[in-house]
Amino acid sequence: MKFRIEPFVWLAFSGGGVLAALFMPVLAFLFALAFPLGWIDPPSHDHLDAIVSNPLTFLVLFGLFVVMLVHAAHRFRYTLYDGLQIKHRVLVGTLCYGAVLVGAFACLQFLGGATQ
């Protein structure tokens, strides 16, 4: 069978789409609305800290954020390429997927910082 990168990118893209659809609304609801507005009592900082510093949580969150980033980048790539007609395939691809690398690195830093 021929090796092509597209199937793997697509898998990350569609996996990211499913996970984003499942988890983003929940996370956004909790951390952007419910906790700050006091609808739900927020967990204590120590408690959250303990959850995030667990290596398993770290892995799950890191994986979740990276595939969501891939999903966003992939969509944005087609928005630029097909939507805005910026016909520089390599440049657009490098910028979009490059942003994923930067984002993944930032995730690593933040989550890593939290697990210290």
């Binding site: 069978m1 021929k2 092509r4 793997f8 087609y78």
Partner: protein
């Protein structure tokens, strides 16, 4: 109801016109008349130079596709009364070069179709003496939907990806590949996968879904393409990520 409707028809006669233009015709508005009936009325009674394709007049041959009011439609299955009081615009199918008036050049589609090998492929052919390849009703059902395609190319006219990148192999061809992959008598899935995994194959599709919306035969090419993407991804993961023993 008014007894006439105005039809605005895109005209292009390469021997006379430098570029396409519009011509208006008033035709009788009858409840049982389709856009194709209107065009035939024009051709027979008003202007015999108008060029368009048709054959069966019953949604089977797939040759009468046109953009009606901007939407790819079979003109033999599109009723004038749906556009009353008019006017109704009739143009050649989008995304294809125009040969003359409403006739488009379909060579690109005809070149792409055989690339996905839409026929039954066997590792070893049975001899005639061994009898026919039998199939259960369930096995027929597995691919039947994708076999309803009449090659009308409305899905190509609706597909923005094909419009932007004519190398994209396109909805109907991929749906047909799926039709044969799902056929219990066929063993050619791997050969088709090698064609469709290329950049101009299934991954060119950005899942706009217009193909499925306009398909007059409810083939759901967008669904076929999504299934194919998943299949190609599963096979790629198996072939390149799993250790040999698990493949």
């Amino acid at each position: 109801m008014a007894d006439e409707i105005r039809v605005e028809v895109a005209r292009y006669r390469p021997d006379k016109d430098r570029e396409p233009g519009w011509q208006e015709y008033d035709v009788p508005l009858r409840t049982d008349w389709t856009v194709l009936d209107a065009l035939n009325h024009v051709k027979n009674e008003v202007d015999s130079t108008l060029a368009f394709r048709w054959s069966c007049r019953m949604g089977i041959c797939g040759s009468c596709g046109m953009n009606v009011q901007g939407e790819p439609r079979l003109s033999c299955a599109t009723f004038l009364t749906d556009y009353a009081p008019g006017p109704v615009r009739v143009e050649p199918l989008a995304n294809f070069p125009v040969v003359r008036d409403l006739v488009v050049d379909i060579d690109d589609f005809l070149e792409k179709l055989p690339r996905v090998k839409p026929w039954i492929i066997r590792d070893e052919e049975k001899s005639v003496d061994d009898g026919e390849y039998l199939q259960s009703p369930e096995e027929l059902e597995a691919y039947q939907q994708f076999s309803m395609c009449i090659n009308c190319m409305l899905c190509y006219a609706a597909c923005p990806v094909y419009g932007l990148d004519p190398d994209f192999v396109g909805p109907a061809a991929i749906a047909l590949a799926e039709r044969y992959d799902l056929d219990s008598r066929d063993q050619g899935a791997r050969q088709r996968l090698d064609v469709l995994i290329e950049a101009e194959g299934v991954y060119g599709c950005t899942f706009v879904g217009e193909c499925t919306r306009v398909c007059p035969k409810h083939v759901d090419p967008a669904g076929a393409i999504q299934r194919y993407k998943l299949k190609a991804a599963q096979e790629s993961v198996k072939a390149f990520l799993l250790p040999r023993a698990f493949r």
